[in-house]
């Protein structure tokens, strides 16, 4: 019986850490959905957002003000990216855009650390990490709060996509960029909005992950954790990102505990990728991705 509870604890822990992955993956999916750009800079944006937030906190600002200022910074960044990177590259091959985001991510890493310094900072969001017991299982309070935050975020985003004019324009752009342009959707504005939304997600992810790991350069690596989530769920599906995040979180924890001892541990770096690719071999567009139709 104890074994079963332990198993359950591992599963719940995995689900909750999966939510953290989802949080980062959402930023990727959002941008890919709206502009077909695989934004490698999402990890750097997480770092930038978290550093900015902590930087403002260090000026003695209250948390809400720091959050709003950091959000404003992310929005400015989004507009700047749209102007300087996306607009000149409009119509280029997706690979070129992807590589541009790699350049962007390097730039942002340097920029963020140039402004705010390179030292590791702690971040206390005022949520304790004490585990609480629910139904005989120990659950981390912090993870639970993070999961709730993610749930709210997803709800807000879905509402934004479904019920606002900008959200509908955004889906139109995702569906068919040219048709949307013909119908009068301002593409540059929409892209700025998408990148702004991704910046917002990066800020939330940066806060949650920053509180977990400390605000430091390693936050950019979180993006690498989110990649398997994305490919497992499909690049253009928000639901996919959520489900895949949970699947990866759970399977990673299970593999670490039940498989790790046999192969020498440390498998969490590649196991999610192996899992995601195994699924890709069966469903090449991911679990929820739209099937690609090849045309000549």
């Amino acid at each position: 019986m104890g074994d079963f509870f332990f198993f359950l604890e591992v599963v719940v822990g995995g689900l909750l850490s999966g939510v953290m992955y989802t949080l980062v993956a959402l930023g990727f999916v959002l941008i890919f959905k709206a502009s077909g750009v695989f934004n490698f800079a999402q990890g750097a944006m997480v770092l930038f957002a978290a550093l900015t937030f902590v930087g403002f906190l260090e000026f003695g600002l209250p948390m809400w003000a720091a959050f709003l200022l950091a959000l404003a910074a992310m929005l400015v960044l989004a507009v700047a990216i749209e102007r300087t990177v996306l607009r000149p590259l409009v119509g280029q091959d997706h690979m070129i855009l992807f590589m541009a985001t790699i350049g962007l991510s390097i730039f942002l890493e340097g920029f963020a650390q140039l402004i705010w310094g390179t030292k590791v900072r702690g971040l206390d969001l005022g949520i304790s990490d004490e585990p609480i017991e629910i139904g005989g299982i120990l659950i981390s309070q912090f993870d639970l709060s993070a999961a709730l935050m993610a749930a709210v975020l997803v709800a807000v985003l879905s509402a934004f996509f479904s019920y606002t004019k900008v959200g509908r324009a955004l889906r139109a752009v995702a569906d068919d960029t040219q048709a949307a342009q013909v119908a009068g959707v301002p593409l540059g504005f929409i892209w700025a909005v998408v990148w702004g939304a991704a910046g917002f997600i990066a800020l939330v992810a940066g806060l949650v992950w920053g509180a977990r790991l400390g605000v430091q350069f390693a936050l950019t690596l979180v993006a690498l954790k989110a990649l398997p989530v994305m490919i497992l769920g499909g690049f253009n599906s928000i639901a996919g990102a959520i489900v895949a995040g949970l699947v990866i979180g759970v399977s990673e924890k299970l593999a670490e505990i039940y498989l790790g001892p046999f192969v020498g541990g440390g498998i969490e770096n590649w196991f999610p990728y192996a899992l995601a690719i195994a699924v890709l071999l069966i469903r090449p567009a991911g679990l929820f991705g739209a099937a690609r139709i090849a045309r000549v």
């Binding site: 695989f38 000149p88 390097i106 590649w270 990728y273 071999l281």
Partner: protein, 354 residues
């Protein structure tokens, strides 16, 4: 006026098929190779030879490898560092465990091992496409890093996981001095670059480009896309593997996984982007650019004296790097190689304005 292709009558098929049809090009390249082999090692100081030219050459080879895969076959790879690692680990095992083999044979075998590993990951590209392939190569990067650090046999059971490479011997001559190591790298890189250039000009190379430009259309016109993609992965793996072996034996003097991290993969990708996707010349230009840029930035920083602290400088370097990559993609997506072609066009009409 001097540089022209007019009046160069071709009287045989061999002349038609020459890599450099313009006589001046041919002479220039030959002169460059001759200077590189016969003059540079005796003139250049150990710093230039060992710390600038040697890494330039070896990374050019890796860049050619990635260029074949990404620039010609259109399969984005983020795992070149890992394929270099496979080559390096295979080479050190072959050289130490089979001391009877001459080292060029060991290096070719090491390259083949890396090629086989590349092929294995290339199999994934048959089922998945585009960015998914890029992520699959990222998986290769992490998986290979993990394997190299978790199997003691691969590092000859060295507790630290870092194997010092022995001096290479051929016919009783030991390649330990800087100029001799440079020459080994130079000969290898020139030979493999010629092979790559010819591969690209062959029907196999054209098949790669067909897959890059439009996979479905290529398939419909009878190009064996499966074969083309697997060729690209295997050849790319081979080149990266040999580059990894050279990097470990000639440059670092040891084999450790740190030298072949994701950072290295990105560095090689940047060389290919800045040098020019789909250009062998570009691979060299890109490698030279990426190796020289930090040196140039560091030198420029000394002008400011003490004003720039090292950590500020490191971050500035990151920013300049990132901005340059974006700028290159915007201004000249075809990289330095395209600029070289443009310069040649200008030279052809010089001194006339058009």
């Amino acid at each position: 006026m001097f540089y022209r292709d007019a009046g160069a009558l071709k009287t045989s098929y061999a002349q038609e098929q020459a890599i450099f049809p313009v006589a001046l090009d041919r002479w220039a390249v030959m002169a460059l190779v001759a200077v590189g082999a016969l003059v540079v090692p005796f003139v250049a100081g150990p710093y230039w030879l060992g710390s600038i030219l040697l890494p330039c050459l070896i990374l050019s080879l890796a860049a050619i490898g990635l260029n074949i895969l990404t620039g010609y076959a259109g399969q984005l790879s983020l795992g070149s560092g890992a394929f270099m690692a496979v080559g390096a680990y295979a080479a050190v095992n072959l050289v130490i465990r089979l001391p009877g083999l001459p080292f060029p044979v060991s290096f070719v075998l090491a390259g083949m091992v890396a090629g086989a590993v590349g092929l294995a990951f290339g199999l994934l590209s048959l089922r998945i496409r585009g960015f998914y392939v890029a992520v699959a190569t990222l998986a290769a990067q992490f998986l290979i890093e993990w394997i190299c650090t978790h199997i003691p046999w691969l590092v000859l059971n060295t507790p630290s996981g870092v194997v010092s490479t022995p001096t290479l011997f051929l016919f009783g001559f030991g390649f330990s001095s800087v100029p001799s190591r440079y020459l080994v790298a130079f000969v290898t890189v020139v030979a493999l670059a010629v092979v790559a250039k010819n591969l690209i000009r062959s029907s196999a190379g054209r098949a790669l480009m067909a897959v890059r430009d439009h996979e479905t259309a290529a398939e419909l016109t009878g190009v064996d896309t499966t074969r083309a993609k697997l060729t690209a992965f295997a050849v790319s793996g081979f080149y990266c593997g040999v580059a990894g072996a050279l990097w470990a034996f000639l440059y670092l003097g040891n084999v450790e996984i740190e030298a072949f991290s994701l950072h290295r993969s990105f560095q090689i990708l940047f060389m290919v982007i800045i040098g020019g996707l789909g250009s062998i010349l570009g691979s060299f230009l890109g490698a030279a650019f990426i190796v020289l840029l930090p040196v140039a930035i560091a030198n420029a920083a000394t002008l400011f004296g003490e004003a720039l602290k090292p950590d500020v400088l490191a971050n500035l370097e990151l920013m300049i790097f990132g901005a340059l990559i974006v700028a290159f993609l915007i201004i000249e997506p075809n990289g330095l190689a395209r600029l070289a072609v443009k310069a040649k066009e200008r030279l052809r009409r010089w001194p006339l304005p058009y």
